[in-house]
Symmetry: C2
């Protein structure tokens, strides 16, 4: 069985992504793999259904700037090359799969909130990434109910 | 961040589970973790909706015997202790979550066929395991469309 040579971490840059990011860094070290990091910003028009007043375009710009700054901060700390950082607009699942294919990724790491029922139907990124991925997917459990060791 | 101390491999004992099993063995070695292995046999009554003639009970027995033999064969090869092998009747997701909690598991490894659309709604074990798991879940991609390195 081959090792993981290229790992893609999909972050949402919320506080909880620390846990996911640390796991990705740990696995990349264990496998001596390249770590790639993607953050997908959903256009407000996708999130809110297209009824966005024109003056919200500056909000979108601010979201993107903040996202770039957070992505770079994480990647500097983790030693991720600039060429392996991806800040993208679009639908998370679609874009994560696209990057995974383009960068010849062996394993995608994504946070999972363990949603089920209606929340799942309404969309979970981990769920969306799992389906249709042509590589392995590690869903790192975050949020309430997550089992964590103290050590 | 803690290491994975106990990894639970959920196998379906089909040919494809070799890939999943090898990944589980590899990760258990990298993390120096205990490897636990569960195989859940779905009762025919669950699979076929309860309309099982009485004389099929011997078929169920044969399925169970075959499953035990395959599970033991895999576990002997992988050096999995008898106390860490679980052959269980029931619904896969429910039983996998139950074992994960009872054995204080940090990560579940399961094969994923990358189903989507109707096939997903009809049930994918990887999908079911992901939702509601209180620990990390690694879905190892198997079957057509899986990205595999030759090395």
């Amino acid at each position: 069985m081959g090792e993981y040579k290229r790992i893609l971490l999909a972050v949402d840059l919320a506080d909880e992504s620390n846990i996911v990011g640390e796991r990705a860094i740990q696995l990349a070290r264990l496998f001596d793999a390249e770590l790639h990091v993607v953050h997908v910003v959903e256009p407000l028009s996708l999130v809110y259904g297209g009824d966005i007043p024109m003056d919200l375009s500056s909000v979108q710009d601010q979201i993107q700037e903040q996202a770039k700054s957070s992505l770079d901060e994480f990647c500097e700390g983790a030693g991720v090359l600039e060429a392996h950082r991806y800040l993208i607009f679009g639908r998370p699942e679609t874009e994560i799969h696209r990057i995974a294919t383009a960068a010849d990724i062996d394993a995608i790491i994504v946070g999972s909130h363990g949603r089920h029922g209606l929340a799942l139907l309404l969309g979970s990124t981990a769920n969306g990434v799992l389906h249709g991925a042509s590589c392995d997917v590690l869903a790192v459990r975050v949020g309430p109910g997550a089992h964590r060791r103290a050590d």
